[in-house]
């Protein structure tokens, strides 16, 4: 079997332009709920962009300078927006049963992305370099130690925590979000549950 040919065939069948960048969508897609996904993604873009600028200038810049403080504010509020819209997206997708008809993997990737985001945000709070960081570092060490993660992670080591926050976890998260998007686009948004039908008595059931 030629792996290259096989991959080309599979991708071209699964990911047509109609799937990836649709200029049409099913008529049932007509609710504010559908906006939460794109709002989540937009917030993530702002998180990443502000984070790249902050990491380029370094911690003392975002702690002490006026411009750095503004960027820290942008990063902070983009994280709040990201979690707000991601939570709304998750709740909305639950109520739509969006794992149906071959979309279970999409749900799994999304849920794992949520979990990674929580860890990513926590390492961000620890990278602020203020009292909140100090306090949560010493508080959380017992949980990390007790759960057995101490073999890998010394939560009191700022170098490790900062590296996880600006490189390791973002790469994983962006990879998962990209996979999630491709999964959503390749299957299309989940069709609605069955509508009610008219009984012989003329009622809906």
């Amino acid at each position: 079997m030629n792996w290259t040919q096989s991959m080309r065939q599979r991708v071209s069948e699964k990911l047509t332009w109609d799937h990836l960048l649709p200029s049409e969508q099913p008529v049932y897609v007509s609710s504010l709920v559908y906006s939460f996904g794109v709002f989540t993604l937009s917030s993530l873009v702002i998180c990443v962009a502000s984070g790249i600028i902050m990491s380029a200038y370094g911690p003392t810049w975002y702690q002490d300078s006026a411009a750095g403080s503004l960027l820290r504010g942008v990063h902070f509020w983009s994280v709040q927006a990201f979690f707000f819209f991601m939570t709304m997206h998750l709740v909305g997708q639950f109520f739509m049963g969006s794992w149906r008809e071959g979309r279970a993997l999409t749900w799994v990737i999304g849920a794992v992305s949520f979990g990674i985001s929580v860890v990513e945000a926590f390492t961000g709070y620890l990278s602020r370099g203020d009292f909140f960081s100090q306090w949560n570092q010493v508080q959380s060490k017992d949980a990390f130690n007790g759960a057995g993660i101490d073999g890998f992670l010394n939560i009191l080591n700022n170098g490790q925590v900062y590296g996880l926050h600006i490189a390791v976890l973002p790469v994983i998260l962006i990879g998962l979000v990209g996979w999630h998007l491709i999964a959503v686009r390749s299957k299309g948004v989940v069709p609605p549950y069955q509508a009610r039908v008219l009984t012989k008595e003329g009622r809906h059931s």
Binding site: S42, N136, R196, H204
Partner: protein
């Protein structure tokens, strides 16, 4: 050939115009404006980090008690256990073990801290060397060469004395007693902290170079009394939903609410293994979230709840007006969410769900730019 599982193809439903790129750009633009505005108006929370110097200047007795706890093994980190040490003289106080399961101990002591040595004796030895302080050098020698019983007698007397000590002009005044070399050692370490050099002495222990990545020992020194006292004053202790909220009136990491909630109720709020079991409880809940598509009952819950009918209300209004699902040839399969419905690739089914039908589209007039779908062959999904 393996049969293929059937699922409805979203491209075969009636379609309407959609500009995905424009939606993404507009969304990004709106959120950028809102977020930058929020940052400009409200800024972001920040409470400057606490230093040993501040703590020593404000509460020298507290620093003295911290030093004694580190020296005599009464401090929390002195007797913590893995990953920092094996406890004080073999007695570890902070090892969490749930039904004999204790992964905390699996890795040994990778981040070693002997608090007497790291927090007290080494910084004081550096101070004595730097300042040619013969009295301090002699005191350290006396302490280190004394018996353990003698050391404990000095530190116990000193601990009791600190409880009655007063501060005058920033100096700790002790009642008279037999403290041996410990009184001088404690006093000199308080002065070292006041000078601002104690943090540097502690930080160099976990870094081994000019860089200061690892602030473990500095934070562990502060965590005894200094940080908890401040946290309590601003309602940030664990029992006060600490990790869940932030400075002042800013929103905190509210997404940790389920986790911090556990710390407010038994057994997590009272048990010795609260941290460990809270972590496992959250891990279990997270696995349940991931596995929702396969959990019986939970995966059917959204079908029973009427929320989806509100989300797709226009779609349902039309289908029910035309009784489309009542006439659908795939109605029985659709009721079961097409579970077990497969297609033989050699002889694909000709049955098309009613919701694909273009006549449904023409009656469905709520959207501008609506168009009928092209009459494509029935598509299938291979998962």
């Amino acid at each position: 050939m393996k049969p293929i599982r059937f699922s409805r193809d979203t491209l075969q439903f009636p379609q309407k115009d959609f500009d995905m790129v424009k939606e993404g750009v507009v969304s990004l633009g709106i959120l950028t404006v809102l977020i930058v505005a929020a940052a400009a108006i409200w800024g972001a929370p920040f409470r400057p980090a606490v230093t040993n110097q501040q703590a020593a200047l404000q509460n020298p007795i507290g620093i003295g008690q911290e030093v004694l706890g580190d020296l005599d093994g009464q401090g929390g980190i002195a007797s913590y256990g893995p990953p920092y040490n094996n406890g004080w003289h073999g007695q570890a106080q902070s090892v969490q073990s749930f039904l004999g399961f204790s992964p905390q101990t699996w890795w040994g002591t990778p981040y070693q801290v002997n608090t007497a040595q790291a927090d007290v004796l080494t910084p004081l030895q550096m101070l004595a060397t730097a300042s040619h302080d013969s009295a301090l050098t002699a005191a350290l020698h006396t302490y280190k060469t004394a018996s353990y019983t003698q050391q404990q007698a000095w530190t116990t007397a000193m601990t009791n004395a600190l409880g009655k000590a007063t501060v005058r002009n920033g100096q700790v005044l002790l009642p008279s007693g037999h403290y041996g070399p410990v009184a001088l050692m404690v006093n000199d370490e308080i002065n070292l902290a006041k000078s601002g050099l104690l943090s540097g002495a502690l930080d160099r222990e976990t870094n081994g170079g000019v860089y200061r990545w690892n602030v473990q020992n500095d934070l562990l020194f502060l965590q005894g009394q200094v940080l908890p006292n401040i946290a309590n004053n601003i309602n940030m202790a664990g029992g006060q939903w600490g990790i869940n909220h932030d400075e002042q009136a800013y929103p905190g990491p509210w997404w940790l609410t389920p986790y911090t909630f556990l710390y407010q109720i038994p057994p997590w709020s009272t048990g010795a293994t609260g941290d460990q079991t809270a972590a496992y409880a959250m891990g279990l809940l997270f696995v349940l979230l991931i596995l929702v598509p396969w959990i019986p009952g939970l995966n059917k819950l959204p079908k029973l709840l009427p929320v989806h009918r509100a989300i797709w209300r226009d779609w349902y209004r039309h289908l029910e007006k035309t009784n489309a699902c009542g006439q659908c040839p795939l109605r029985a399969s659709c009721t079961k969410e097409f579970s077990g419905h497969t297609i033989d690739q050699q002889q694909p089914t000709e049955m098309v769900p009613s919701c694909y039908q273009p006549d449904a589209t023409f009656a469905y007039n709520m959207n501008d730019g609506l168009r009928s779908p092209s009459m494509m062959p029935l598509r299938t999904s291979t998962d």
